[in-house]
Amino acid sequence: MLDIFKTLKLENLSDEEKAEIIAQIAEPLSKRIMLYAYEHLSETDRAELETLADQADESKISAFIKSKLPGLDQIASIEALKIIEEVRKKI
């Protein structure tokens, strides 16, 4: 599995700092995943997901996403790769 910190050569960071980096990367990553989801869900599905989100039922949300966006995992992985690569280029 891809090791973020190895890739970024930041293995020596403290756990605290690593956590912070992960939290920071999670932000654009989640946005990209959401953008993908938004664009690939129908309007009805988006509304349904909103409803599920309001209900905060994680299991239902997960099932819903898996059923509607079967390729999301891949997209997420690759978007993560892309972001990590973007970060790596800046280091």
Binding site: L13, Q24, I25, A26, H40, K66, D73, S77, E86
Partner: protein, 1204 residues
Amino acid sequence: MANKDRIPTSLENQENAEIAATLESINEFDSFSSLSPEERKAAAGKYQRFTQAEGSASGAFSQKGKYVGMPDGMFYAEEVGESGEFKVFVPPIIKAEQNTVVDDTFDIIRREKTQGLARLHAQVIKPATFKRLPSGELELYQRGVIVRFTPEEWELIAQKSEGLQMTAEMVGRLEEFDKTLNSFPSLSSESYFYNRTRPELMEKFIAREITHDGLIDELNRIKTNANKKPDRKSPTPPPENRPMPPKPETPPTQREKIIIDLSGGSYSIDESGPEPTLKPKSIFQRGNLYGATRYFRFLQPDDSKTGQFKITVIHPAKVKKGEGGDWELVEKGELDISPAERENEAPSLEKIPKWSLDATEILVIEGISRYATDLSMREKIASIISEHTPSDAADILIGDNYCRPGRDDIVRVINEFKPKTSENPPAQPEAEPVKPETGHDPEIWEMTQGQYLDWCRTEGILDVNSPKYAEELEAAIAHYKSSIAAQLEENPNSVPENVREEYARATEKQPQQLDASISQNPSSSVEKPEPPTETNTSLENELNDLQFQRALQEVIEKQITNEKRLASVLKTNATKAIELLDRLEKQGIISPYDKKSKPPREILWNRKQLREIIARTRGSRRAKESTIQEALESEDLYVRCIALLLAESRKGKPFSQRGLLMEKFELDRKKTDEIFTRLVADGLIKKDGLRTILNHQAMADYLKTLSENPPTQKEEVDQEEPKSERVFIPEKIPNADNKIGGKVNPQLELYNNPEDPLSPRWETGTPVPQQVPPPVSEGIKTEETLPETLPAETIKTYTEKIYSTANNLLIRKNKAETRLAQLTSPDPEIQKSLDALVKLTLQATDKVPGIREALNTAGERFDEGGINHGEYLIEAQKILDQAHQEINPILERAEQEISAIEDQINSLPQLEENPAEAGIATADKATEAEIDKSENPTAIRRWMSKARKHFLRIALALLIGAGGGGYAVYKTLENRGEKEKAAEVLKKSEETAPTQKPTPPFEDTVSQKKEGVDQERVQDSIKNPDDFIPAKEPTKEERDKTIDQALVAREEAIRAQAHSQVEPPPPPASNVSYEIPPPPPGEINETETSPPPPDGKRETEPKTESAATERTVKLNQILKQVGMKPEEYGSIKDTPLKQFLKNYGDPLYNMNAVTAYITGDPYVVSHRNSLSVAILKMAPTGITGMEKEMTIDEWFRYRESIGK
């Protein structure tokens, strides 16, 4: 029109021929840059002479103060710094009276044969670049187009070229600007505003120099100023000198004209919902439509032999209110405009009938934008129409033919804008105005509006010949109304009954025309019941919900009480609309819904008052917005940071982004950390990786407080220190109620250590608002002067402050220690100073128990009745004074010492800061840009805010799974107190990496079942860590290669997935194209639409899948560019070509269809606006039977030959 008579007749023939020849020769070159300097000079010379003879363009260039490209008059160019390079802006639409074209780089060029003069229309979307050669000449190293401009065109260029430089965000701002502006219809018909003030405002708004609320304020101000003009111009004469208004010749108007300008493609009719609505077009769509305007003109010369145009550009129509309250089209006329009029001037006045409309009729003028391609001309037409219609005419609606307003559409548009019958009753015929028999010269409030306006005309205040007559008229009416309102408030009895009635009618009919100064005098108010006072607070709370507010506005302005209609207007679903209506019902604003009879809900409240409530709510919101803006300019960095975070949060970014602060305020990481520490300590943001904003209201209040009460110097010093929300509760300190109060925030546990002598006793619960301690140095106050509630609060606050200061000192000490450890060569002396600081701090805090004890003793004596409350106050004050004298110097010294240590540490070489920060910030920025580029960023962000939690969890799980030290990270999260998040993350992490052999971050149940080698390859590439980070440290090249491979594999996998999915998801609306749908079978006829190879032979080999995919990708890009969805493309392709050509010259033809047809072949992407190419591609389809390319001239000849 700008180019009127711009070509001297004497020059026209000979020069044209010469220039044509030159240009033809230029055109033979592959590119302009391939011309030799001599050739360029020769070509330039031709233009120069041409230009100089006309004498317009050169002047315009120097006026702009910008460099002008070569040949003179070509471009609007700016040198980039002193680089010798020029950025050249070419407007989206440029017109030049030249014979030919230049280059194939740009989307050019159409030639139009008109009146013997070859006319060129160009639509260019790319900027070109010049480079200065050592010789001083300019070399065009991207290609351009030779055009010239008049000064007026330059003005347009200056505006349009800005558009070319727009980022997605700026485009969004522009759209928002347009939307806002459209809510001020009276301004949009005002020429000075439109041509001068509007561009300035637009520029400021786009540059975020003014906010949305600021813009509204500014527009209101402009409107108000306009209304005041009569006062400035000619102050109302004193009553004794005021002449009697003459008897008006025509009945005075009861209402004002509303000119709603729908031209310019600002709107289209959105028929997607249950009810048709007006939908603003995006700038890109507008761009297309603007181009379409030219396009249309090109298509129009249906009688080019005679040079006469039969172009019906204005279709005046009249609509009348029917019995049902809706508007019906009653008649429609046409005006023929001559070529001269079309090109140069607004239509002759006499061509416009003198309309005689009553208040229940509306004049509709559609298609005006097609005629008036120039802003000023369009404005002029609007002005002419406005002036030319009787003052008692009803509203005028200027429509846009490109919105395809047929009969029904016109009516529908009007019905959208016009209030219903009950709100807009037919004007009652007014009796002949009679001189008010007052026995004296009447005051303004003794006149009817008509009488007043006549008086204004007599006095010269209103001049019907003035170019700004419409504006002055509006201002005069506004002045009249405000005067009546003021008088009604001051002395209602002095206002004659007929004036009162007229005013009441007018205010109820068009309240939006009145400013806030209109009184609420009962005599002028309406019959609706007053809103219950006690409900107002509740309603105003509800109004904080913008959607609710919008719903209320729709109810007020359009009387929409139907959930479907409301859902359509608000762009939401019916469930939400019902919920909103129910909330309105709960507030008592609309009547309950009767399931049985299902009558329309009635509006129960007085609508005027509802408007006022909304305005009030907006006012308070504006105040907050202005506070933020003010705070952004503050000298206090902390305040600026809060303001920025709050502003960002309002834009849907609820996290405190380090990169943002660092970039915006040019901070280093350390300083940013300090700010975050302080924000956390102040309870404003959450202490987690994302630094989620905890309390927006507290932030706003904080800024508001600062704004209303600028801190004194001492307070400023206090604010520099991080504040703690933790509150120390001294034992048995009675407050005014003899109760011990105060709670603390349980989340903050950092220093709540029983072993730590500095740790105060914490209680859990709601934090007590921090109080500013009284100036204890002022000495003991007497019972009479000391408020009863003061001591307890004072004591508590004071002790809190000691502990808070001590805690902050220790926080700073700890941070200093951390940074000390990060130094390349830690200094042991500094560590000693830090240790000394701890001791010093302890000295201060050690005194607290003594103070507490003394205060407790005093409290006990008071509890036991040994002393009265006054004596207790005095005693407490004494204790505090003494504590102040003992403790404060210690703390001050400690603060000085820590500051000195911090400075010392800062001056030492630091370890490198976390370098990932910049990359993450860039990635985030890029992501935001992607969102901005999408079709509806606002909707996406709104949706994201809802779905965020779950997707963030996915992202975190994925990253922790890929974190290498995922579990350690989890522990860190847990240790930081974010147990919930840590647990979730751990769960996901464990799901994804339970074994030694890593698996994908989370299960992909469907995609793994997909067929195809590519899928496996991608899966493997993602699964296998060695693909990315080999056991041995990879070289940079290896790493780049593997990542690139993964990305390529991903794209292929996505494509494969798109092909293999039974039900592919809808195609992306934005250019963030994760998935590219294949074209529907048969939709794209390869034979017909693919371009012939250079040798003229058509490609006959079957396309490979890869080529098809590439083609589809290309097509999607094109569709994106032209603002079309793939499904629209499909439907257009179904349109028989014949039908298309039949509609080709139809002005009402949907331009999107034309554009789509043009782009039917993906290989014409760079020529999507080029008619020549479009024709070229259409020609071989069988209509002409031609196999070779046709020029436009040939095309026209062909069309003439077939009688078209």
